[in-house]
Symmetry: C2
Subunit: 209 residues, 2 copies
Amino acid sequence: MAAKGTRPRTRIQQKNTSAILDAALDVFSANGFRGATVDQIAKAAGLSKPNLLYYFPSKEAMHQTLLAGLLDTWLAPLRALDPEGDPVEEILSYAGRKLEMSREMPRESRLFANEVLQGAPNLEGVLKAHLKPLVDEKAAVIAGWSADGRLAPLHPYHLIFSIWALTQHYADFDVQVRTVLPEIEAGDPFPEASRHIETMFRKMLEPGG
Amino acid sequence: MAAKGTRPRTRIQQKNTSAILDAALDVFSANGFRGATVDQIAKAAGLSKPNLLYYFPSKEAMHQTLLAGLLDTWLAPLRALDPEGDPVEEILSYAGRKLEMSREMPRESRLFANEVLQGAPNLEGVLKAHLKPLVDEKAAVIAGWSADGRLAPLHPYHLIFSIWALTQHYADFDVQVRTVLPEIEAGDPFPEASRHIETMFRKMLEPGG
DNA sequence: CGTCTTCCTGACCATTTGGTCAAACAACAA
DNA sequence: TTGTTGTTTGACCAAATGGTCAGGAAGACG
């Protein structure tokens, strides 16, 4: 019997579970949970459907495994925000890392977006337990910077939302962005997006004014 | 036979089609196209499933009717951006109207978000035909303002993306926003969001600096 | 009233889909 | 080789789901 619920042991388990999860990420992020079928995932993974269900007890289990595994990665940039660093540069580089993730991991971004859009049925608990405390902590840091006059006085929570919104937009609304952008830039919107976001935030974060 | 494909004629048709579309908006926006079932929509509309399919030939027809009907409303704020107005105030009030729409029409926002997230299979044509030209036009206006020194030099397309991202975030990621925000504000995030967005944009739009 | 059209529904159907299972097959140790 | 454990699949199933249809109910109209 496969080691369900625990980490894979054998080579084959290692290889297959990761193939399945990669395929599942493809399919879930492109179609949402209900829009994805086990057959699609199986085909994308190059395995048979019963074989997937040998490694994961259900479609939902694949989904939850993905979400759970991704959260750490997803929050890493915010975790890295250093209270000892320079305020403006810290926030700027947070936004930069986040944008980079939108570029490098668009599937993950869309997976989360799909989930949150539909009310986060499988995520709300985790959000309360992990996301909220982390944001509280970093919002306090930001509020401190503002209070010390090292940062423009901005609402810390909404500032964080702004960063999320702006950066994830390029992954989640990719089709729209590319449709609207003039041909040249639509090939890769990220360089310009990066410059734009940096310009914007620099202006609004600088304490003087 | 019902007047399929054209506007409703009789009272009953009027009443039922709008009840169906309203219910469909509820269900599609909350579950995505594939996640929504005709039964759910029927129940929400207070009609029987065959009755829905008397007014609309298919589930997909309901979806497309919604999308088509919504695009105008959705783009209205951008259309209203007045080339003759004061640059900063025009953009600010565009963002304000857009945020208001996120508050008043979150279902519509989520419907579009769902659609675009999944590659806009039923929308890409319309985006090319209507959204792109409009954005091109308004981006040119903004570029003109910047060139005249009446607005900070910002990338006009990415500026528009910023407004979309920031405002729609509050509708599309509602659950996340409310989970993260301190209790008091989570009751209604919009007043603070509005202030935050205005502060931000004012700083970055003003030409001096 | 009678007739014609619109509106509505219970019963039904075909397909899709998540999931099961017995049995075949591979890996490997003794 | 033989037994044991881990891996794979074809065939199958029950439920869900989009959609159909024949016929009944309700208006509209002369």
